[in-house]
């Protein structure tokens, strides 16, 4: 599992100034990502499809079981399904999700190195760690690499790893050196000649060359890196694309190849520990006020505003109490944080005595810049007031209680609109055009239609009167019927004949007869 160069002694110490790179390759990363989140799929042949260059769907990545059953990358999806039928699990390839999750892995690996970046030829599947001068913190380079190996194993990921003094060499050893299979490989090359010797045995695709360059070299009978290194340098420059010499120099460490490090997202946290567990409200609110102030200062320094704050209280015995406050716009105001958290806590009951309070801005974004004007526009100030109002209402009443309605393309009246929490909606625009005129729909619609006793001249005829709450209503005018039918193919379809009726006292109601049950219902009022 753990291979080492023949030049290496078991406890060899790397010079702290020598550049050291750890390359972690996750073979077949798109497949491994899927099976990591859905382990059941490991038991079945699995393939990911994508759009081919000439249209049509083709297989992009296959699992080991799929390859064993003859499914190779590049074949049309139709052929693959014809071969294995329902046994083959086919999922659409999502390269964006691949990269996103790889970035998450890289951020989680910051405990091993402060500089972790991604690299990949056609798609990102390799992590690069700059471990220069830091391996002694882990007890040596071998132990560091072993820990990284264990970490990836705990994540159910199969990897191949290698270390070297350059990015190119580490990449080459991880991808193409049999010694790094299946585990980590630490390569200690004390001199450039050693490195050149190690690289010499590797095939040319370990230099990360394009397919065209590889084909040219192959036609000339060049198969290994060693053959390239024996050629005079001048001939490489004149006869081959510049890419070849560049990659050779990068692999030998002669050309610097920086790692584009991924920085972990900035955290804005403020914490308070009580000397003793307490349930006293005044002490808790003083602590929260102090924490709000600290958090606001942290956000202000980075010109950011909080969109969501979590107030976590650790109680004794071990339990936690969590409240979340959301904001309509990025806010960086300590007083506002405090007001909203107090609103939330007023309605909550603390389970036990508190020992620790942590305030964290779990979502944040750039604060909206506001330049003061000589003749200030009041509209902007009022919009800010509205944002604070939405925050207050949402904190006390809940997200689902402060909504903006949006029209839907559904004929069923109760489903003709939906509501979205205003706190998570930035734009109040609706794209669906409304097609009914003013008096065709009531301003009040009951959540559930109310059964109604209606009198008609003949069965299935228009209504002449109805009884509601023990009172008789005579219908003087009626408009309809308006037939509304939906979802005849499903279970929840409706078939109703709606009437807009005016009673003798001048009130307008919206009633309907269900065609299936022949019963009448009161659905709304034109209040």
């Amino acid at each position: 599992m753990f291979a080492a160069s023949h030049n290496e002694t078991p406890q060899s110490i790397v010079s702290p100034k020598e550049k050291r790179i750890l390359c972690v390759w996750i073979p077949n990363w798109p497949i491994q990502r899927i099976t990591k989140s859905q382990p059941d799929l490991k038991k079945h042949p699995l393939a990911l499809y994508e759009h081919g260059p000439r249209g049509g769907l083709r297989i992009g990545f296959t699992s080991f079981l799929a390859r064993k059953n003859g499914i190779q990358a590049g074949i049309p999806v139709a052929d693959a399904t014809a071969r294995l039928g329902s046994r083959l699990r086919i999922i659409k390839h999502d390269p964006i999700a691949d990269k996103k999750e790889l970035i998450q892995l890289a951020i989680q690996c910051h405990e091993f190195s402060p500089h972790v970046g991604l690299i990949g030829m056609e798609h990102c599947d390799t992590l690069l760690f700059d471990i220069t001068g830091s391996s002694h913190l882990f007890g040596g380079e071998e132990k560091l690499v072993q820990q990284v190996w264990q970490q990836f194993r705990s994540w159910q990921l199969f990897t191949r790893m290698a270390t070297a003094k350059s990015v190119g060499a580490a990449w080459a050893f991880a991808h193409c050196d049999a010694r790094s299979k299946p585990g980590p490989f630490v390569c200690q090359q004390n001199t450039p000649i050693d490195l050149a010797n190690e690289l010499g045995t590797l095939p040319l695709n370990s230099l990360r060359l394009t397919a065209k360059t590889l084909q040219t070299l192959s036609e000339l009978g060049l198969e290994t890196v060693g053959q390239i290194l024996t050629l005079p340098r001048n001939s490489l420059v004149s006869r081959f694309p510049s890419e070849l010499l560049q990659r050779v120099d990068q692999a030998l460490g002669k050309l610097e190849e920086p790692i584009v490090a991924l920085n972990p997202p900035q955290e804005f946290v403020a914490e308070w520990d009580f000397f003793y567990p307490t349930q006293r409200q005044d002490a808790i609110f003083i602590a929260i006020a102090e924490l709000s102030d600290r958090l606001a200062k942290q956000l202000h320094q980075e010109n950011r505003g909080a969109l969501e704050i979590t107030c976590k209280m650790t109680c004794e015995p071990k339990s936690t109490f969590l409240e979340t406050v959301k904001f309509y716009r990025p806010v960086c105001n300590a007083q506002h944080f405090l007001e909203l958290i107090e609103l939330k806590l007023e309605q909550a009951r603390l389970p036990a005595s508190i020992v620790n309070i942590t305030l964290k801005a779990t979502r944040h974004s750039l604060a909206t810049p506001r330049q003061k004007e000589l003749f200030a526009d009041r509209t902007n100030d009022y919009a800010e007031e509205f944002s604070l109002l939405v925050n207050q209402l949402t904190s006390r009443l809940g997200e689902k209680a402060v909504v903006c309605p949006l029209l839907c393309a559904n004929s069923q009246p109760e489903l003709a609109f939906r509501e979205e929490p205003l706190i998570s909606r930035r734009s109040l625009k609706s794209s669906f055009a409304y097609r009914f005129s003013a008096l065709q729909r009531p301003t009040i619609l009951f959540p559930r239609p109310l059964p109604l006793e209606v009198t008609a001249v003949f069965p299935d005829g228009p209504p002449q009167g109805f009884v509601r709450a023990g009172k008789n209503y005579r219908i003087t005018r009626k408009f309809g019927p308006e037939r509304i039918e939906t979802g005849w193919w499903g279970k929840k379809g409706i078939r109703r004949d709606y009437y807009c009726v005016e009673t003798s006292c001048g009130a307008w109601y919206w009633i309907f007869r269900s065609i299936s049950s022949r019963k009448w219902f009161l659905h709304g009022e034109f209040a």
Binding site: E385, A438, L439
Partner: protein
């Protein structure tokens, strides 16, 4: 003689009270038009003043008080403010508001779960200057809460439309304007097949001594604006 003197004193005191209350609202600015000329003529300043509360009393359910309040709110929102509907009973139907010309991007619905949350929400919303109008279907208000709403409306310069039933007519109110909405008993202009709706709006005398009167209003299906029919009496 003494009776005349006491009557004069009472009249003077009422006048002073009316003057003081009138000063709380800027009487120089024009009010928000209701869209009906005859109704505007009955209102102080020719319209509804921002920062005031309006009692919309409906003679019966389904008489159109809420719709008229919605139309006034629509006019109030023409300058870009937001219309908020406080709907505890979850009955407000937003597509109808769209049909009456209120843009959805200026409409927010708040659904409190209980009465105390409703009063609290109303107070906060009325205080916000970006809110042009608030509509709420609620009958009973505690006097202190009602006064707080009035002060909040003045602070935020928001139009507060409180839709209540006619039984509340005898209850004390801090509303600046009280309107009783009922249906026309007979509409001589009604034509078979038309979908016009005729409403009668009567202003109730409060303490501002504005004119008491009745206006008839026809809501037409063909237009989202309303047309005046006639002003009946003063």
């Amino acid at each position: 003689m003494q009776a005349n003197n006491s009557h004069d004193v009472i009249a003077k005191l009422s006048e002073q009270i009316a003057r003081i209350e009138a000063n709380t609202l800027d009487s120089q600015d024009a009010g928000i038009s209701s869209g009906y000329r005859q109704l505007d003529a009955l209102l102080p300043n020719g319209g509804f003043m921002p920062g005031s509360l309006i009692d919309w009393l409906e003679a019966d359910r389904g008489n159109g008080a809420f719709t008229l309040a919605l139309l006034v709110a629509r006019e109030a929102c023409r300058q870009g403010g937001i219309c908020v509907v406080v709907d505890q009973r979850n009955r407000f139907y937003p597509p109808a508001a769209v049909g009456w010309g209120l843009p959805l991007n200026q409409l927010v619905v708040v659904r409190p779960k209980n009465d105390s949350d409703e009063i609290w929400a109303l107070t906060q919303i009325l205080r916000c200057r970006h809110v042009a109008a608030v509509l709420c279907y609620r009958n009973h208000y505690e006097p202190f809460a009602f006064r707080r709403l009035q002060l909040a409306a003045e602070t935020g310069q928001t139009l507060g439309c409180l839709i209540r039933s006619k039984e509340m007519e005898c209850q004390p109110s801090w509303a600046n304007v009280r309107l009783l909405v009922s249906a026309c008993s007979e509409d001589p202009n009604a034509r078979e097949g038309t979908r016009d709706r005729c409403l009668k709006v009567r202003t109730l005398d409060l303490h501002m001594h504005h004119k008491v009167g009745i206006a008839e209003i026809k809501l037409s299906n063909a237009h989202t604006t309303v047309r005046n029919v006639r002003r009946i009496a003063q």
